[in-house]
């Protein structure tokens, strides 16, 4: 049974989320620009968010009756958004200061953490 023949269900959301997540990871690994890495992070976070929201939707669940009060997924998604914003702010600050020091935003140059 192909996904394309099915009505839109939980699986579809999960697939989209997975694609987003994978794209994010690939972006993080391949981009040398720090901003690009940050974008990859956003993608990963949003991929995860999509999963949370999908799981939280009563319409998509197998036991919709019990799910009325389950707002956890939405809550966490909101948290993630806030977290992403905060993370972006901090990360951008780091990048900015990195740029000040190195006159570049190439993450490969940032190997001060080398053990």
């Amino acid at each position: 049974m192909s996904l394309f023949t099915q009505p839109i269900g939980l699986t579809h959301y999960l697939v989209v989320g997975a694609i987003l997540f994978a794209a994010g990871v690939v972006c993080m690994v391949t981009k040398r620009n720090a901003i690009g890495v940050l974008m990859g992070i956003e993608l990963v976070l949003n991929g995860a968010n999509l999963n949370f929201v999908a799981f939280a939707n009563p319409a998509l669940r197998a036991d919709p009756g019990r799910a009325v009060a389950w707002m956890d997924g939405h809550m966490i998604a909101l948290f993630v958004i806030v977290l992403a914003a905060a993370e972006a702010a901090v990360a951008l600050a780091i990048v900015l200061s990195f740029y000040h020091n190195h006159a570049s935003v190439d993450v490969d140059e940032a190997d001060e953490l080398k053990g």
């Binding site: 990871v25 993080m28 690994v29 391949t30 981009k31 040398r32 890495v37 990859g40 993450v107 490969d108 940032a110 190997d111 001060e112 953490l113 080398k114 053990g115």
Partner: protein, 770 residues
């Protein structure tokens, strides 16, 4: 007049006046009059007022009681003492220690004597201590730079101590219980200490002061033991309380071992009864029933003896009896008025007084000890006095000897005789001391070999001292009349003679010692008088310097000389005199003799048998006459040469000159061992006890060092090895930490995927529980 209220007030006031004087002089002494001369007036005024008060008290007493009882007769109706308490130092259940009074005619006589003699000596001291008003140069003390010491005078301090002494002495006489006696006993001791050491700059003076106090403390040690016995067996210190128990009216005032002592001695039996009877009342009844049997078996008698001996021990110290007599001669380092007041008339007589006061408690055994101690003392001191050349030391040994007489008299049952001699002795001995002070004041030396021929320069002193010498020798017309010493010494000798009748062996010895002592007394007294006043001056410088003393010093001499003459007489037609007055105070039950295996103590009335009286009077007369004649032969007429005798009896002279070697003996037997013990203890402390502490500390440190070694060699190495291994591992793993961000992400992604692969490969649904 109600004596029971007025007497305590009068005598209490007389007692406290010197204290007030003392307190005022302590606080304001140096500012009283010119250079503190006012202190002297204040102190003298206080003691004179005390004398007046005592006199009033005596008059009151006589007005009430007259001479109710005939001399030595059985008491028709015994006069009860006025006894009571002022306040309690502490009360513990039935036990109480109080400040109280016990007033009978003996107290009054003592008050009269003390205040009278003290007043005389206070007045005398104005002259004698005159130098102390200015700057004093003490020739006996040289400073480090070789010059004699100059110091400010201490006139007020002298009177300050005197006042304190008078207060203490009167308190001692007034005391209503043994504890209070002990309190004032110590206080007179400290006054004596302060006054002997009055010339604080002189090493010899402070040594003598220390010696006096410490030797007295040896006596006090015994006294404390006696007090402890009384206290823990009788539960009271008050004279009345003790006498009631020791000589209960039920037994006709005969001496019995009190219940308390019987019980204390039979503590084991008491314990058995208590343990056998759970009911305390029954136990108590059983014990009470057993007490007479225990007493019969001799339980508790030793306690009575120990109590008596203990109290007597204190008296031995205070009255300078053998073997504690050594302090008194040294005490002559003090100013002469001090010697006269404290070390002749009053304080040293306190021991005799206490023996008299405590008389009802003494068993025949104790009395025998007292008599023997007295006899030994009187003989030994008299022999030493023969060879002494320091005028004050002669008198000091004479004092010791006379105190021995008193003890002897008391010991053989002569209660009145002993105390009578105490009073007369106070008069003539203070007279002699003041006379000697007058001489010393005049010629600036104590040594008799440097005196001589002073009678022309100092007629008053010479005359009064002759009276004193006659009085102490017991001069008189046998069986008729004599100076005061004649009456009192004869009474003692007669009593010893009576004692001899009952106890042939010991009695003979005691009597002949006493009689020989009388001869020696006359000898050394006239030796003293002749060497000082008769013949020609031996030291021209001293003689030229000599002069009669000022009136303030002569007047007391005359007063005391008069007393030395008449002190033993009764006022004509009234029968009033010291002796009958003292007799009024005779403790109940002591008018009859006592018998014990050790000795039989005769009743005092026994010595009044004409047979005894006559013989003794003549023996005493001839003994004194013999002594007088020998002294005249040697020193008066100079027909015999003392040097020759000295050569013949060289060993004896050497022995006597060194005072029977008591000082050396004590130094080697007591002082040095004590100091050695002190050093041993100090060393023990430093070496052994501290050594133990240090050893323990050292051991702990050793253990800690060992521990440290183990720590470093074993524990540390193990820990370090673990650390190094971890470090090496870390080094190897550091390659992974490239620092490349993208690589990290790569690792994460690959790692996650890898994990998932692994999980999906090995996940077992069954095991997961679904």
């Amino acid at each position: 007049m109600d004596l029971s209220t007025t007497l305590p007030i009068l005598l209490g006031l007389a007692w406290l006046l010197p204290l007030a004087s003392f307190a005022l002089v302590v606080l304001f002494g140096p500012w009283m009059g010119r250079r503190g001369v006012g202190a002297g007036y204040l102190a003298t005024g206080a003691i004179a007022a005390a004398f007046v008060l005592s006199f009033v008290a005596l008059l009151g007493w006589l007005g009430q009681h007259g001479l109710a009882s005939g001399e030595h007769g059985a008491h028709a109706d015994p006069i009860p003492p006025v006894a009571g308490e002022w306040y309690a130092l502490g009360t513990f259940g039935a036990l109480t220690i109080t400040i109280g009074y016990y007033i009978d005619s003996l107290t009054l006589v003592m008050f009269m004597m003390v205040t009278l003699v003290a007043t005389c000596i206070h007045v005398y001291s104005f002259g004698y201590m005159h130098e102390e008003l200015g700057v004093v140069t003490d020739p006996l003390v040289t400073r480090a730079n070789g010059r004699p010491l100059k110091r400010r005078g201490r006139f007020h301090r002298f009177y300050q101590y005197f006042s304190l002494f008078c207060f203490s002495m009167l308190g001692l006489v007034l005391a209503g219980n043994v504890a209070m006696v002990f309190v004032f006993w110590e206080l007179v001791g400290i006054c004596s200490y302060l006054l002997i050491g009055f010339y604080i700059e002189r090493q010899s003076a402070s040594n003598a002061a220390n010696k006096a106090f410490i030797v007295n403390r040896v006596g006090d040690f015994g006294m404390l033991i006696g007090m402890m016995v009384l206290w823990s067996t009788l539960g009271t210190f008050s004279f009345s309380g003790i006498f009631e128990q020791v000589r209960p009216a039920a037994s006709g005032h005969a001496l019995v071992v009190p219940d308390g002592m019987v019980r204390a001695a039979a503590a084991d039996e008491v314990e058995r009864i208590v343990l056998a009877n759970p009911n305390p009342a029954i136990a108590e009844r059983n014990i009470a029933a057993q007490v007479p049997a225990w007493r019969e078996a001799g339980h508790g008698r030793w306690l009575l003896i120990v109590a008596g001996l203990g109290i007597f021990c204190g008296c031995v110290g205070k009255s300078a009896q053998f073997p504690l007599h050594v302090w008194l001669p040294d005490a002559m380092e003090g100013p002469t008025p001090v010697s006269a007041l404290i070390h002749a008339a009053t304080m040293v007589a306190a021991g005799v007084y206490l023996v008299g006061r405590f008389y009802p408690v003494f068993t025949p055994e104790v009395l025998l000890v007292i008599a023997c101690v007295g006899a030994i003392t009187l003989f030994m001191a008299a022999t030493i006095a023969i060879t002494a050349t320091d005028i004050k030391r002669v008198l000091a040994y004479s004092t010791v000897s006379q105190l021995g007489y008193m003890m002897l008299g008391l010991g053989v049952g002569g209660w009145v005789a002993g105390l009578f001699h105490l009073i007369t002795h106070a008069f003539f001995k203070s007279l002699l001391f003041l006379g000697s002070g007058s001489v010393i004041h005049a010629c600036g030396t104590n040594e008799m070999p440097r005196m001589g021929g002073l009678r022309r320069k100092m007629p008053w002193t010479a005359g009064t001292m002759l009276v004193g010498a006659l009085a102490i020798s017991g001069a008189g017309i046998p069986l008729l009349i004599g100076l005061s010493g004649y009456h009192s010494k004869d009474a003692i000798l007669a009593q010893v003679f009576a004692f001899r009748k009952d106890n042939p062996g010991q009695g003979d010895l005691l009597f002949w010692i006493a009689a020989m002592g009388a001869a020696i007394t006359a000898f050394y007294m006239f030796r003293l008088w002749y060497m000082t006043f008769a013949g020609e001056p031996r030291d021209a410088h001293a003689a030229a310097h000599a002069h009669e003393s000022p009136r303030s010093m002569v007047a007391p001499l005359v007063v005391l000389a008069a007393l030395a003459v008449v002190g033993g007489w009764n006022v004509p037609w009234t029968g009033l005199g010291v002796r009958p007055l003292v007799d009024q105070a005779r403790p109940l039950g002591t008018e009859v003799g006592m018998t014990a295996p050790a000795a039989a103590i005769p009743a005092e009335s026994a010595s009044h048998e004409p047979a005894i009286h006559r013989i003794v009077s003549w023996i005493a007369f001839f003994a004194a006459l013999g002594g007088f004649l020998v002294a005249t032969g040697f020193y008066g007429l100079r027909q015999l040469d003392p040097e020759k005798v000295r050569r013949v009896l060289a060993p004896v002279h050497w022995f006597l000159k060194n005072k029977w070697f008591f000082d050396e003996l004590y130094r080697w037997v007591f002082v040095r061992p004590t100091l050695a013990a002190a050093r041993v203890v100090a060393a023990l402390d430093r070496i052994v006890l501290d050594g133990l502490a240090h050893g323990a500390a050292g051991l702990v440190r050793l253990v800690s060092r060992l521990d440290d070694l183990i720590d470093r060699l074993i524990v540390d190495r193990l820990v370090n090895a673990v650390g190094e291994w971890t470090y090496a591992t870390g080094l190897r793993l550091r390659a992974v930490q490239s620092g490349n961000l993208r690589q990290y992400v790569m690792w994460i992604a690959v790692g996650t995927v890898g994990l998932f692969v692994l999980v999906s490969l090995f996940w077992n649904y069954a095991a997961a529980g679904n």
